[in-house]
């Protein structure tokens, strides 16, 4: 059996381009979806030769009157049971549109197939049986259209022949469904009385519905608009893969919104690394010039070697997506087992995937019910709002800002189990999986301090690059160790090579870098060690965060060597590179270092030796209760 009726390609030889619109027909089981499709094909002259005769024969063989729905219910199983199991597609033409009709099953059992079909649609026809009226699946499908982002919805009240074409009954149903949809923010484009079996209202306003003045179904379809690529929004290029088939290193993906061209300055999220687009690669002709807009699958090369991976999002630096480990989503759920608080999932946002935990279920309702009964878990074919904590940071947008990147799917055991819209992202919120129970140390703090002769502390050395932080840190480390203490050096650059290798130098990444340093250092301090942190940490706000985390263990030392001297020293050659423009986001040139206002100690290394500076630090640690006065204490213990 063949479904192609007339070719729908606008790329016809005479060069006409007709808008192609994809329509899904949804509604309660047995309200007449497939029959309407059959009728539409017939009325628009789209049936292949011999199809009508074949349908008559198939119907007769089953001892049934002529059945339009057999046209689409092509599968043997469907014919035998008389229901549509899976979604299918068929094409035909109206006066001004090429229509791709997506027929979706109405049976609750096959909601996943309805979603599969409807997610591809630009517009929808929601069909309601005039006799039965609005049913649970009508409401459920209405709600799902909203969640799937299908905004153009035409309502069709079918089987008007069975209510004697009663205008009053039509108005009753029309009012009920319009009110329901408007509650979801969906405004019907038309409400049309029809008899799909007899043809009234499908392509013609017949006498029997003489009281109706609105459009026919064909006219309503003719007015639907195809979806437009989101070129006006900010650039979002989710990375699908990095290809190194030859000497080019090509970052490949599809532009979901916005546009790009060679020379654009971009940021790679969530790491926040900055680069420029060197070329836009293609085949057979490469490179390609000009802007590439939303909807294009492209490949780009960058002007520098950066670690980029599948799932990253490339954006313009001025309008980057938010990086988050926690978000709220409105979802539909298709899995047999209800979704509950504490469940472990796999979440996909475009090509990015992350393990995730459901932290809270804020709402859980059956969208088919009239009154929304609140549940603790989201049952199969139900909807809800959930808070998700992600184990990897992801870059995303709320769907109100970007309908393409602001949506996600949820997988359970390798199979898609649900999906929905990102309502909000909680930047900076830390993931706190519900089932984490910290294990406490077997040792008491006083046992450790008795051995080390000091309390735990976080000694935080901040200052310009080359101001002498690392040199001082190492001198302090040696001195404490010589005295039997337990110092541990945490160097910013060293941690960036491992723990923080996923971070770049955007403001957000620098903050996260500092937060992690502070967390690790605080953990050491709580176990009696002296964590010596040497990090530029230019932002006052970030150091305040570190102080909040380490609390009373925090000792801030401002290594306040004058900037000219730092630049003169330049042991790593960074100042020189930065002056030459080859080192982006370098602190030291310009005014981006925010000096501490209330540091425990300020040291200028240009006016004293390393030993003198170390003395000062040691003295400060004694007066602030970190180091014990060893002679006195030892004597007391003898």
């Amino acid at each position: 059996m063949n479904m192609i009726v007339t070719p729908a390609s606008p790329a016809t030889p005479n060069g006409t381009t007709r808008p192609q619109v994809r329509i899904v027909i949804v509604g309660h089981v047995d309200h007449g979806k497939s029959t309407l499709v059959g009728r539409l094909l017939h009325e628009t002259g789209s049936l292949p030769d011999g199809k009508l005769e074949m349908l008559k024969a198939v119907s007769a063989r089953r001892g049934m009157p002529f059945e339009w729905s057999f046209l689409l219910d092509a599968l043997q199983t469907e014919r035998d049971q008389g229901i549509t199991i899976d979604t299918t597609q068929i094409r035909f033409r109206t006066n001004s549109r090429d229509i791709v009709l997506i027929d979706a099953p109405g049976h609750a059992e096959f909601l996943r197939n309805m979603i599969t079909g409807a997610s591809q649609a630009d517009g929808a026809v929601l069909i309601i049986d005039a006799l039965e009226g609005v049913r649970d699946q009508t409401r459920r499908h209405g709600y799902l259209l909203h969640l799937l982002g299908v905004k153009q919805v035409a309502i069709v009240v079918n089987k008007m022949d069975r209510v004697d074409f009663s205008a009053a009954r039509f108005k009753e149903i029309s009012d009920e469904i319009s009110a329901h949809l408007q509650g979801l923010g969906v405004k019907p484009t038309a409400v049309i009385p029809i008899s799909a079996r007899d043809g009234d209202g499908v392509a013609e306003r017949t006498e029997r519905i003489g009281w109706y003045n609105g459009p026919t179904v064909v006219e309503a379809l003719d007015r639907l608009e195809p979806a437009r690529p989101l070129e006006a929004l900010a650039l979002r290029l989710p990375v699908q893969a990095i290809y190194k088939f030859d000497d080019r290193r090509i970052v490949a993906g599809r532009i979901e919104s916005g546009s790009l061209t060679a020379g654009d300055e971009i940021v790679i999220m969530p790491a926040g690394k900055i680069a420029k687009i060197k070329t836009v690669e293609s085949w057979p002709v490469t490179p390609v010039a000009g802007r590439q807009g939303a909807g294009r699958s492209v490949g780009i090369t960058l002007d520098r070697e950066l670690f980029v991976e599948r799932g990253d999002i490339i954006a313009h630096a001025s309008a980057a997506p938010r990086e988050t480990r926690r978000l709220r989503a409105r979802i539909f759920w298709l899995h047999d087992k209800p979704l509950a608080k504490g469940d472990q999932l796999l979440v996909r946002c475009g090509p990015k995937e992350s393990r995730a935990t459901v932290v809270a279920i804020e709402k859980a309702v059956d969208p088919g019910e009239l009154s929304s009964v609140e549940n603790k878990a989201i049952g199969r074919n139900h909807v809800g709002e959930i808070d998700i904590s992600l184990s990897n940071p992801i870059a995303t947008d709320p769907y109100t800002e970007n309908p393409r990147t602001g949506r996600l799917v949820i997988e359970v055991s390798g199979r898609i189990a649900g999906g929905g819209l990102v309502l909000s992202v909680d930047a900076g919120q830390r993931a706190v999986p519900v089932d984490i129970v910290p294990v406490e140390s077997a040792l008491r703090l006083d046992e450790r301090s008795a051995r080390y002769q000091h309390n735990g502390a976080v000694v935080w050395l901040t200052g310009l690059p080359a101001s002498g932080k690392s040199t001082l840190a190492k001198a302090l480390e040696r001195r404490l160790f010589t005295n039997g203490g337990s110092p541990i050096l945490l160097d910013g650059d060293t941690l960036r090579a491992g723990l923080n290798s996923d971070l770049g130098f955007s403001a957000a990444d620098r903050s996260e870098n500092i937060r992690r340093l502070a967390e690790v250092a605080t953990h050491l301090a709580r176990n009696g060690h002296v964590a010596i942190v040497a990090a530029v940490s230019p932002a006052r706000e970030d150091r305040a965060t570190a102080r909040r985390i380490a609390d009373t263990a925090f000792r801030e030392i401002h290594v306040a060597t004058p900037a000219e001297i730092c630049e003169e020293r330049d042991p790593k050659g960074h100042y020189k590179k930065a002056r030459a423009g080859a080192l982006a986001s370098f602190t030291g040139i310009g005014n981006d270092y925010e000096a501490p206002q209330a540091a425990e100690l300020v040291i200028d290394t240009s006016s004293r030796t390393v030993a003198e500076a170390a003395d000062e630090i040691e003295q400060m640690l004694k007066t602030t209760g970190v180091l014990f006065d060893e002679v006195v204490d030892l004597a007391a213990n003898i």
Binding site: M3, S9, A11, L75, I85, Q89, T116, Q240, R415
Partner: protein, 264 residues
């Protein structure tokens, strides 16, 4: 972006997802117009090369023009071509009608190739508009351990998120041109200047719209001797594309039975 650009971008997206998410894939090259477009799209997706094998499951009964095409373009396009034979007709389900049984050899050949190479994904050039059961396909379509298609339990697939985790030993069919039509294929073939087998063009009032095994494929009446003329013919015809494929028409459900068993 015009209509063909949109189709192309979507297909490239699918190819790149398949390559990223599966371990070992191959493209099924039937030598016909659809799979030639597929190879072209794959080369666009991967910047000129096919980074996985092209598999021709050979019934041994194709037209000589098809074999010449395969040998020529397999080299010119630098394909990693694997030709796999099909078992003899005796090895195939005898309850199938004759043409369907003949076609089912290909399913068996496919299964043999699958177990030989251990592919977890096969890229196939089927389209929704060709045939009603194909219209119900997913882009990433899971197959059972026996290569069978469970049409009653297809996973949800939306927003270009694909189910790409086949169970151990099973495989996925990936359909990068599922959303194309016959006319799209020809319009794109013309625009991109993709080579075709001349059997598609009319000679003596006949041409092939679809190419299969020589003994079960018939030409249709046509005067279309260029791609432009084919496009005009498609505008006007109400004859279905696979009218010349005997296996589709033997019984009401012959094709569905083939597909459930693992046919393309």
């Amino acid at each position: 972006m015009d209509h063909l650009d949109q189709l192309e971008a979507q297909s490239i997206y699918i190819f790149r997802e398949a390559f990223a998410r599966l371990k070992k894939i191959a493209l099924l090259w039937s030598l016909g117009k659809d799979s030639n477009v597929m190879i072209w799209l794959a080369r666009k997706a991967f910047f000129g090369r096919l980074p996985f094998p092209a598999l021709h499951v050979d019934t041994g009964k194709k037209f000589p023009e098809m074999y010449r095409f395969r040998d020529h373009y397999g080299k010119e396009w630098d394909l990693d071509l694997r030709v796999e034979p099909c078992p003899p007709i005796d090895a195939v389900d005898p309850t199938l009608p004759p043409a369907a049984r003949s076609a089912a050899r290909k399913t068996e050949g496919l299964k043999m190739a699958l177990s030989k190479y251990g592919f977890d994904g096969l890229i196939a050039g089927i389209r929704r508009d060709e045939e009603a059961t194909r219209a119900k396909e997913r882009v990433f379509s899971p197959r059972g351990l026996e290569g069978n298609w469970d049409v009653r339990d297809q996973p949800p697939e939306f927003w270009d998120h694909f189910n790409a985790s086949p169970p151990q030993g099973a495989h996925l069919r990936i359909h990068p041109i599922l959303h194309w039509t016959e006319a799209d294929i020809w319009a794109y073939t013309k625009r991109e200047n993709i080579p075709i087998i001349p059997l598609y063009l009319a000679k003596d009032g006949k041409r092939y719209r679809s190419l299969g095994d020589q003994d079960i494929t018939n030409p249709v009446a046509s005067t279309a001797s260029t791609i432009d003329e084919i496009l005009i013919e498609l505008e006007q015809t109400k004859v279905p594309e696979r009218a010349g494929r005997a296996l589709d028409h033997e019984t009401e459900d012959a094709f569905e039975r083939l597909r459930v068993a693992g046919y393309l």
